[in-house]
């Protein structure tokens, strides 16, 4: 009920802004208001998606901690949902890898379609982490 009311108020604000677009005197202000509204909405959506990423990552970490199978670890439903987030999840995954190292390699391979880990480094987890963190820094995902 509360959400519906908010949506109706948002719709009204957008309608008001759109009606002002037709009036030259108000066009600039109306466009600025629309742009600000869009930016705010985008930012709220990003924050909500990142919260969801954190929830899924914690669930996956908890439920796979005793598994050895790389495939079983990667096929966990929460991990698959994270892969489904696509490019947007890359910086969050890299930060997780940096702060709470875990098996993020499959997800990074699937999303980026790249592989900075050499054949000699396969299974050598610290080296794999370093390779992906360097990859992330080189591409501006990490400081």
């Amino acid at each position: 009920m509360g959400n519906n009311q908010n949506f109706q108020e948002d719709d009204k604000a957008v309608q008001n802004a759109l009606s002002l677009l037709g009036k030259p005197r108000w066009r600039k202000k109306a466009l600025a208001a629309l742009a600000a509204g869009l930016a705010e909405a985008e930012s709220a959506a990003d924050a909500a998606l990142e919260d969801e990423f954190q929830r899924l990552a914690a669930l996956w970490a908890e439920e796979t901690q005793n598994l050895s199978s790389v495939q079983e670890i990667a096929l966990h439903p929460a991990y698959q949902q994270i892969i489904g987030m696509g490019d947007q999840a890359i910086p969050w995954i890299l930060r997780e890898l940096q702060q709470r190292p875990n098996h993020w390699f499959w997800a990074l391979r699937a999303i980026t379609r790249e592989n900075p880990v050499s054949e000699q480094e396969q299974g050598r987890v610290p080296a794999m982490i370093n390779a992906w963190l360097k990859w992330g820094k080189d591409r501006g995902y990490l400081d």
């Binding site: 901690q65 005793n66 199978s69 079983e72 390699f105 396969q122 299974g123 050598r124 987890v125």
Partner: protein, 152 residues
């Protein structure tokens, strides 16, 4: 992290519990630990994330896992009882797919018990059947080799 003696995925309560012997580590897993290594995550995954010995098929089959241990001097044997002069490994399967490996402790007060690395969790000493259950399934193969090397 940590391991709960009442975790319904295992059978610790029915088989004597477990004793933790290491902190958690992402550096190695049960297959590496059973093989005598603690510096790599061994797994024959299809995309090449895990380490897998050269010359052994990179596939999740009993044959491939046995071949990996054969390369280390092991041969399939009939049981998991202690035999003087031999070290043993037990492979587990869940739904027909390899899931876990445990290695027999061959000296000290835990002689005859088994040691397992639990995923990226801790190492434990336990009775062999204690790790059977929903997570790892059941024992599929025993292997043994003459005791020739010292474990890390």
């Amino acid at each position: 992290m940590g391991l709960d003696i009442d975790d319904p995925g295992f059978s610790f309560r029915q088989h004597g519990g477990f004793r933790q012997t290491s902190p958690t580590s992402l550096d190695y897993n049960c297959i590496a630990w059973a093989a005598g290594f603690d510096d790599a995550w061994w797994w024959p995954d299809i995309v090449g994330i895990g380490f897998w010995p050269k010359g052994v098929p990179r596939e999740q089959t009993r044959e491939a896992f046995v071949a990996a241990f054969v390369q280390l001097g092991y041969n399939v044997c009939s049981g998991g009882g202690f035999e003087e002069g031999y070290e043993k490994v037990a492979l587990f399967e869940k739904n027909g797919v390899p899931s876990h490996a445990a290695r027999m402790v061959t000296d000290g007060p835990d002689k005859g018990k088994w040691t397992s690395k639990m995923g990226r969790n801790i190492d434990i000493v336990h009775d062999l059947q204690a790790v059977s259950g929903r997570f790892y399934g059941a024992i599929s193969v025993y292997l043994r080799r003459p005791m020739i090397t010292r474990r890390p």
